[in-house]
Amino acid sequence: MKKLIVTISPHERSRESIASIMWGVVIALLPATVASVVFFKFLAIKVIMLSVATALGTEYFTRKALGRSNTISDGSAVVTGILFAFCVPPTSPWWMVMIGSACAICLVKELFGGLGANIFNPALTARAILLASFPVHMTTWIRPFDAIACATPLGIVKEHLTIPLPSYMDLFLGNCGGCIGETSALAILIGGLFLLYRKTIYWYYPVFYIGVVFTLSYFVGRDPLYEILAGGVFLGAFFMITDMVTTPITRLGGIIFACGAALLTVVIRNYGGYPEGVCYSILIMNAFTPLIDRLLTPRILGAR
């Protein structure tokens, strides 16, 4: 008789793994990737490929240097690489993309203990680092298709420029200036629905985030539909705010997180120095995650 394996219960486990979750996210990012290639052509391909390759390389070498196991096959570095590429302009120089992607993996993820131990969203933190370090490169925008310099839809509003605003349909499809992956709400929505179907993300993050941005924008006197379609709201709502590692563990905590991020987004857009506030709002809420978790521990069955 063959040797029997003895382990502690349970003896059956679900088939879901970190790799299946992460590669699922990669699939969910494909529609937005395709949209970015349609709009920004070779520029988008270049930045995305470079970012993913740098992320994988950084993960491999950092983990090797830290004496950790090789995890590049679990797909999490690919996800970070794509997401980071999505939140930089298509004209980003190659060295800036590499610096950002390496920062996301090495500084923000691995030095905090690797996947699961990072406090801040790696892609967004890397974007914040680049925005502080290379403000000009990070705010140079081009129009889709013809690559002529332009302003972002939110930039037009912020700077009170006299350029005509893009139509709702252009914003929804992504036919406007902006970061590589954030322009097309439609493509992001398709990927986001796929993640909801796979139960990778919870519905309340996008619903409350987009909903509260919409409502608050209305109350501060801006066009609410324009506000949610322009900029990074959809990308943030479906792919950033839903990052399981850096968000609260309870449903109520998640709703508070989403509402807080939405409030900060609207505040930054209206009263801050930047036209866009998605990135900073989520990073600030990331810092509140441990506190939210501590305050909202679920009540144990039978406890008073």
Binding site: L4, E12, R13, S14, T250, G302
Partner: protein
């Protein structure tokens, strides 16, 4: 339909064992009957090598209130009292008996008329005399569970027939084949604890048993006292706290017992054993065991004598189709994996499940990625992800403060974890350490 918070849906794999009729195993030639088959202190041996015993002879004497008698399951000669394989503790003292192949039963086992005025004290005594323990797997001596403290009146009995573990169908089969007897046993339990009412908790994947019990209750006019209750098929609906929450919408206080809210929960198999004890004077020396899993040729329920080696039951079911990588006593969620097939069937053996290497996952584990699947699925509303990290870092006091002792070890957190963390292992260690302090 109300329910408890959390829980998950599993692949139940129950159909195959329900297709085959119950098989009564031939009494084995050799049995090894452990003196420890219950929660509490082991029984003391009453026999010595060379003694003649019959089926149902008391061979182990209960060693206290939290203990139970042990009876012989075959007739023959005691060969020795020595350590032997034990499915729960590894090795333990067992009484080895060789059969005389006559299978003579003790004289006190015969059908009898049960007087209507049987007192609860008398029922408890019979239950204790017959060595009955909780047959759902926890094996708490039943007379203990039927003795609520004087200051805690019982108004409701819940008969646990949820059978939420995958593969296991012995309770389901029992309800289908012995429905009236089960109901008579339930009436005895109601009497023993002076309750007013009983629910039979059945998951809705066993509608045939539910309908059958309903019709038997109506035809015997017991439907005012006993009510079958449909539970949503969800793991772990067979856990008593979750069951009480669903049926009565009451919560057992943390660290307390169902007694505290006037409830007694008994397994349906235990109810049947009580029926046999009272109506036949029959000690608990045999039970229904589900032999299943993808490696067994003919998965089915068997009526097996206590002390029969697992290998004999597997042989009764046609042997192995393919070599198993895991052999589990009980179900795959909370059962105990075994290192051999020599271990004897004990009172708490609800099933023998064999799993093929393609069905098990012993891959390495990773950091918690905070996916919150365990938090949402935990039926006790603990935060398993955090508790597992505390246990990993040996921060047991913090784990205790976060409620780890409430963990029921149902296995859900390990099941759902995409990082493949051995959550139950962390929980068990931390619980043990927390209780030590």
């Amino acid at each position: 339909m109300g329910s408890f918070k959390g829980g998950i849906h599993l692949h139940y794999n129950k159909k195959r064992t329900l297709l085959n009729a119950v098989k009564t195993c031939t009494p084995p030639h050799l049995v090894a009957i452990p003196l420890l088959q219950h929660l509490g202190s082991p029984a003391k041996a009453l026999v010595k090598a060379g003694d003649k015993v019959k089926v149902g002879t008391k061979i182990g004497e209960s060693s206290g209130f939290m203990s139970a008698h042990v009876h012989s399951s075959i007739s023959g000669t005691v060969k020795k009292i020595a350590n032997y394989y034990h499915p729960v503790v590894g090795f333990a003292e067992a009484i080895h008996i060789e059969s005389d192949e006559k299978d003579t039963k003790e004289d006190h086992i015969y059908p009898r008329n049960v007087p209507d005025n049987l007192t609860s004290e008398e029922i408890r005594q019979i239950v204790a005399d017959c060595g009955i323990v909780g047959l759902g797997g926890a094996t708490l001596p039943t007379h203990v569970k039927l003795s609520p403290p004087k200051d805690k009146p019982i108004d409701t009995v819940i008969i646990n027939a949820a059978e939420c573990e995958p593969y296991l169908t012995c309770d389901h089969m029992l309800m289908l084949t012995r429905s009236k007897e089960v109901l008579l046993g339930i009436l005895l339990i109601i009497k023993a604890v002076n309750a007013k009412h009983a629910y039979i908790a059945i998951e809705d994947n066993k509608m045939d048993a539910y309908e059958l019990l309903c019709s038997k209750l109506r035809s015997n006019r017991w439907d005012a006292i006993i009510t079958p209750f449909k539970l949503a098929t969800k793991y772990p609906h067979g856990a008593e706290k979750q069951q009480i929450k669903t049926i009565l919408n009451k919560e057992v206080p943390l660290g307390g017992l169902p007694f505290d809210i006037g409830v007694v929960v008994q397994n349906v198999g235990t109810a049947y054993a009580i029926y046999e004890a009272v109506y036949f004077g029959k000690p608990l020396y045999e039970r229904l065991v589900t032999v299943s899993g993808s490696c067994v040729r003919t998965p089915r329920n068997v009526l097996a004598r206590i002390g029969t080696p697992a290998s004999a039951l597997i042989k009764e079911c046609g042997g192995f189709l393919r070599p198993p990588s895991k052999l589990i006593m009980g179900g795959p969620m909370m059962g105990l994996s075994q290192s051999s097939e020599q271990w004897p069937v004990i009172k708490g053996t609800s099933g023998i499940v064999s799993l093929h290497e393609t069905e098990i996952d012993i891959s390495d584990y990773h950091n918690c990625i905070r996916c919150t699947k365990c938090v949402n699925a935990c039926p006790m509303q603990l935060v398993p992800s955090r508790l597992s990290i505390l246990a990993e870092h040996e921060r047991y006091q913090e784990a205790k403060d976060s409620g780890i002792t409430a963990c029921i070890e149902c296995g859900i957190c390990s099941y759902v974890c995409p990082a493949k963390r051995p959550m139950v292992q962390f929980m068990k260690i931390a619980k043990a350490k927390a209780l030590q302090k």
